[in-house]
Amino acid sequence: MELNTFENLISKRDGDSPETPKTGTAGSKTPAPKALTKVETRNLDFYYGPLQALFGISMVMPEKSVTALIGPSGCGKSTYLRTLNRMNDIIEGTRITGDILVDNEDIYASQVDVVELRKKVGMVFQKSNPFPKSIYDNVAFGPRIGGIKGKSQLDEIVHRTLKQAAIWDEVKDRLNSSALALSGGQQQRLCIARTLATNPEVILMDEPASALDPASTSRIEDLIFELKKDYTIIIVTHNMQQAARVSDCTAFFFQGRLIEFGTTKSLFTTPREKQTEDYITGRFG
């Protein structure tokens, strides 16, 4: 997988985000300032019972960047995403081999507390899933189970994360009314705020805008662009324009295998693999 190494990727990047330092040209001997690797998987195989869903996935995701996972339905991109915070653990009969490293720590190691992992690696789901509680209680849920009790501290977290998720102005007068009264797009931004409230470093997003109208989708995309400054974001999407718009790197999955992984620009303009080209030009999928 030498083609997918991180240095290689970064060297090809043309993104100008100030947080991800540019490196020298590929093959340059001078050691470039390295953007840190945040999440890495090595030879990851995943099984639902006897059925193998992922085959030898090796990928490196840099810190404070957006990585998009694309591919046709059933290609394993959501399964892959859910291994990164061990959400698949709650499904009976799943099994994994290979390594997943977050900040160079093996998240499947026996001493890892999955609760701590999920605080560090937050997740936003396809279908917005606010709790049937007030807006305030939704956002405060994570901090509360994390042991924060002080009213002023919770107020501050709720205020900050709702602002970060660009929904504060819409809900500031009704923090105590039910989250279920919000529109779909608002609910999704609330769920993003709720995720931010646990202070994650990585945010996994599983098709976060697929159930939303174009206006709400564009708000979510703007939000992702903002969040990239502070968080490492990995997003599954069916929408290739969306992948092209929001991500720095893109990975193309097909039938449980990682077919191609590179900077978004290179993958969309000069795909190396025939399958990638066929998919992004709409010949299948």
């Binding site: 789901f125 049937p132 995720t195 646990t198």
Partner: protein, 317 residues
Amino acid sequence: MKSERHSLAAKTSVRRVWEQFVQFLLFTCAFISVVTTAAIVFVLVTESIVGLGDSVAFFQQVSLWNFLTDTKWAPQYGAGEFGILPLLVGTMWITGIAALIGIPFGLATAIYLSEYASPKTRGIIKPLLEILAGIPTVVYGYFALVFITPLVIEPVGRFLGIQVDTFNALSAGIVVGIMIIPMVSSLSEDVLRAVPRGLREAGYALGSTRFDVSVKVVLPAALSGVLASFLLAISRALGETMAVTIAGGVMPNLTLNPFEQVCTMTSNIVTMAGSDSPAGSVEYRSIYAVALTLFVITFVMNVLSQFILNKYREVYQ
């Protein structure tokens, strides 16, 4: 190529008649339960509040005030004393103890089955609970009388230095509590499992433990259904007859001591119905007054549980 168009006109009137017949048949079946309920209410009211023709109803002989405030229930003694309080207190003892046992154990079982148990474990425990629900109540009563009282309650009573009656409220309450466990657990488990998977995932993704998800996400989301299951189980305990008659006794007793014998409203109805009180006498009619009281209480409980269930039904999509 089709040469003829399919006509939309009804081919025969038989189909229409058959449809109407089926609808009528189904309506009749549904109507029978309504008629039965109405008939029961009619009998209870005519025997206890307003007599039909020249027959005299219970409350036309005994004042409602005396019925509700007298502290003695002795219908066959002298002119008869008809204070419902001892029976009410007996029923409250049984129901209270049963709720204290049945609700926590039932809810814990439901949470275990819905959130913790593997499909295999659930496959073993659920049929066992159904067996528990299928045991005749007379067996439960006997079990309380010959096992719970001598082997559990009497040692506890000796330890506390309290005289334990052969028939006592505690053993009957415990056994009714065990009886309602399957009811609480199966109804609660249904509503807990109906909580959308997405909410659980949201909980886990925020760093919740399984206990956090069970108690802070799933249970609050299903709270209305869970409360309704409690109320239905309490209604069941209120109406339970055979087990409490066998284990709790038939002696009306206004007491604050659960180690003593009590008589519930239901046990009283059974003993009075089996006694040699002549039909039409006031003690015979007292059965209906007690039954009416019980009916009102359980009716209110059921309405309340329906109300709670409906009020929060649309809490998640």
